[in-house]
């Protein structure tokens, strides 16, 4: 049984001191970020000619990353919301990570839209002259609403921890951090009335972010679904995107569990049981995701509409290896690893998660790019590089810059508050005492 004192002793050292490894890792991320900034400056100066995007393929790596990061965000929201509402016993050490995935992904994702827009000066027009018939307007409204909601839910879940850290006399942090804890804890003392108010607010927001996550990611899917492009015009794109998002988010949660467990020595808190439980969740979602993928491609293939057939031919020729990796390897390997108890070790489950997340990114790529490379109107005497997309180093640099910012934000947050919620763990403690 863990007391609050032990929890604080175990989880606060990461807030109190920063080691050389932390600085080195942060510096590595920062260098990647700076290369991305250089690439961005080059793109602003020279224009989109420095990217692989041309007349036909007007959405490239940036949109792939946007969908991917937004998917991670909604998955984080769904997982944290569901785990919170259903009071799942094993949730406590992982729920904070899921909440952070939600907010950090949601902050990074929209930047890729800005990279993709050729005329950034026209961006305010979206707000100045909105047309609510446009799915782009729905997306702007949905993402901003989601961002506010997720920040509020994250803050609500942090209040108790801020109060605990504020009252922890032995916490050796600079005075400004003490001030931050004092201000952000809102004077929370944990009396019955405050507990009740906070619990109600968290429950309401947990339910709300689940609903918003589903709506918002469906809106993103509809941006593709409502167009008459081959491969996009599909009625199941909304639920398909939601399932795919949860698949990638669950995978990322496992990867982050492994990283933080290793770095902050949280073996006592994040155990094999947590990996297996989240792994089983990943397998179930993988099965759903596989079902949706098969259903989508089967109906397109059987329907034999000319453009759909052309697209499927392209997927099984130019994109053969990527298609097989995204839709077979990425689904079957995680299922096989986690389905057999013999393979259920922490490293194996983490490898399965890495495969799942990578496959999902590739899946986004083969949803966006091959469709744009299959235009409705035949084009004669066109240069191959005008229709065939290949990302340039500028796009890759900005992609890796996005990932590095992801890492940096996680590292910075872990210096403000524990990566495992002390209040949640303490709650478990009380339940066990009652039992």
């Amino acid at each position: 049984m863990m007391t609050e004192k032990k929890l604080l002793e175990d989880l606060t050292p990461e807030i109190e001191s920063t080691g050389l490894k932390w600085y080195l890792t942060f510096a590595a991320f920062f260098i990647v970020f700076c290369v991305g900034i250089y690439a961005l400056v080059l793109q602003i100066d020279k224009g989109h000619i420095v990217t692989g995007m041309r007349d036909n393929v007007v959405w490239g790596l940036y949109i792939v990353n946007f969908i991917f990061f937004m998917g991670l965000s909604y998955a984080g929201a769904l997982i944290s919301g569901v785990l919170h509402l259903f009071h799942t016993g094993w949730r406590k050490p992982v729920i904070r990570m899921a909440e952070l995935i939600t907010v950090i992904s949601l902050v990074i994702g929209p930047f890729f839209i800005f990279f993709c827009i050729g005329r950034l000066d026209r961006l305010p027009f979206l707000v100045m002259y909105p047309r609510i018939q446009s799915p782009i307007t729905w997306d702007v409204i949905a993402i901003s609403t989601d961002l506010v909601g997720c920040f509020m839910f994250l803050y609500l879940s942090f209040i108790e921890d801020f109060a605990i850290l504020r009252d922890y006399r032995e916490l050796n942090v600079p005075p400004w951090k003490h001030k931050v804890y004092k201000v952000l804890s809102l004077g929370y003392t944990g009396n019955e009335k405050q507990k009740k108010i906070l619990k109600n607010a968290k429950n309401v927001m947990a339910a709300m972010i689940i609903a918003i996550a589903i709506i918002v990611y469906s809106v993103l899917a509809w941006i593709f679904g409502v167009t008459l492009q081959p491969g996009w015009h599909s009625t199941i794109f909304g639920p398909y995107f939601v399932i795919a998002a949860v698949f990638s988010g669950t995978g990322l949660l496992i990867i982050l569990m492994w990283i933080f467990r290793k770095i902050y020595h949280l073996e006592e808190y994040i155990t094999k049981r947590h990996f297996v439980n989240v792994g089983v969740l990943l397998t179930i979602i993988a099965a759903f995701y596989g079902y949706f993928t098969f259903s989508d491609y089967l109906t397109k293939w059987y329907g034999s509409i000319k453009m759909d057939s052309l697209l499927i031919d392209r997927l099984f020729s130019d994109y053969y290896s990527l298609f097989i990796f995204a839709n077979y390897v990425g689904i079957l390997i995680p299922c096989i690893i986690i389905a057999f108890p013999k393979f259920r070790t922490i490293p194996n489950i983490t490898i399965a998660a890495i495969i799942a997340v990578t496959a999902l990114w590739v899946n986004r790529y083969i949803i966006v790019i091959p469709t744009l490379e299959t235009p409705f109107l035949p084009i004669q005497d066109i240069r191959p590089d005008w229709i065939k997309y290949s990302p340039t180093w500028v796009e890759w640099s900005l992609t890796f810059a996005g990932i590095s910012v992801y890492g940096m934000l996680f590292m910075l947050v872990s210096k403000i508050a524990p990566i495992i919620s002390i209040s949640e763990m303490k709650e478990k403690d009380q339940i066990e005492i009652l039992k």
Partner: protein
């Protein structure tokens, strides 16, 4: 020895830098693309059009404000006009008042255009040989069948001869571009006809414009005849006031209702969360003040 080597290196470096600059200036000079076209409109007014562009990053960029000289004649060139290119890189020479240009033995006119170039752009020129053609269009309706009859005669050795075997295209202007209605190939007497479709929408009175055209013809250039008459199906494109659709300014009502309900629901819950935070803060303040009173 050391001094000699260092001096040699300095001289070589200076030479390298000088040659780099001189070569780089050479290579930055733009090679323009000059295109010369001949046009003859419905009123038989002729003109020459020169387009001056260059290629950059596989894009055709117009050269604006450049002086273009137009000439007639083949061996002995006579300057007929000067013009400056506009924003699209186009300079036009109206041939209406300048009909004194000479033709060769077969009756063909020779034209040429020149751009002299400047410090940054190379010079360029283009040539064109044109045979005058007289195009006539006749529109007749009999038993609800609308027929376009075309006749073309070209000038050969000072006399008009039928332009047999040549092909014209008939168009109808639509919202974004010209709709090809059909092709007409002229017979031995220079005549050809085409049945006009009866189901093409016109304006609200049925007016429709018909264009018959030799397009980029190697001998005649661009020659056209147009006519507007009530051969279209009367169509009204006015959208009823207050109509709501995906493409109108105001959205359909169901969409506004759905969005309003969703946003009110969500932001209402956010408001509840904010009020909860305020209540927590107030409760904490109340506790603090009662603690102080107890002290």
């Amino acid at each position: 020895m050391k001094t000699l080597i260092s001096r040699t290196l300095i001289i070589l470096s200076l030479l390298a830098i000088a040659s780099f600059y001189s070569f780089s200036q050479e290579s930055t000079k733009i090679s323009p693309y000059v295109q010369l076209q001949y046009f003859k409109d419905n009123s038989d007014n002729s003109s020459l059009k020169t387009t001056l562009t260059y290629s950059k990053n596989r894009m055709e960029i117009p050269l604006k404000g450049m002086k273009i000289i137009f000439y007639s004649g083949n061996e002995k060139k006579n300057k007929i006009a000067e013009a400056v290119t506009d924003e699209k890189g186009v300079a036009v020479c109206d041939l209406k008042e300048k009909s004194d240009f000479s033709s060769d033995a077969t009756g063909q006119w020779s034209f040429s255009t020149e751009f002299e170039g400047n410090d940054t752009i190379e010079s360029g020129s283009a040539e064109l040989s044109i045979r005058d053609v007289i195009l006539k269009m006749d529109l007749a309706e009999a038993d609800s069948v609308k027929t376009i009859t075309l006749n073309a005669e070209k000038m050969e050795n000072g006399r008009e001869v039928p332009a047999s075997g040549e092909m014209l295209t008939v168009y109808v202007p639509r919202m974004f571009s010209l709709l090809p209605v059909g092709d007409v190939t002229l017979d031995d007497s220079g005549n050809g006809s085409l049945e006009f479709p009866a189901d093409l929408p016109g304006d609200k009175e049925g007016n429709i414009t018909i264009i018959a055209r030799f397009e980029e013809h190697p001998e005649f250039g661009n020659v056209e005849k147009t006519a507007t008459l009530k051969w279209g199906v009367p169509s009204s494109y006015t959208v009823p006031k207050g109509h709501r659709a995906l493409w109108t300014k105001v959205a359909p009502l169901w969409m506004i209702y759905t969005l309003s309900i969703l946003l009110t629901g969500v932001w209402g819950h956010y408001l509840f969360a904010v009020i909860s935070l305020i209540r927590i803060r107030r409760n904490a303040k109340k506790d603090e003040s009662s603690d102080l009173r107890n002290i």
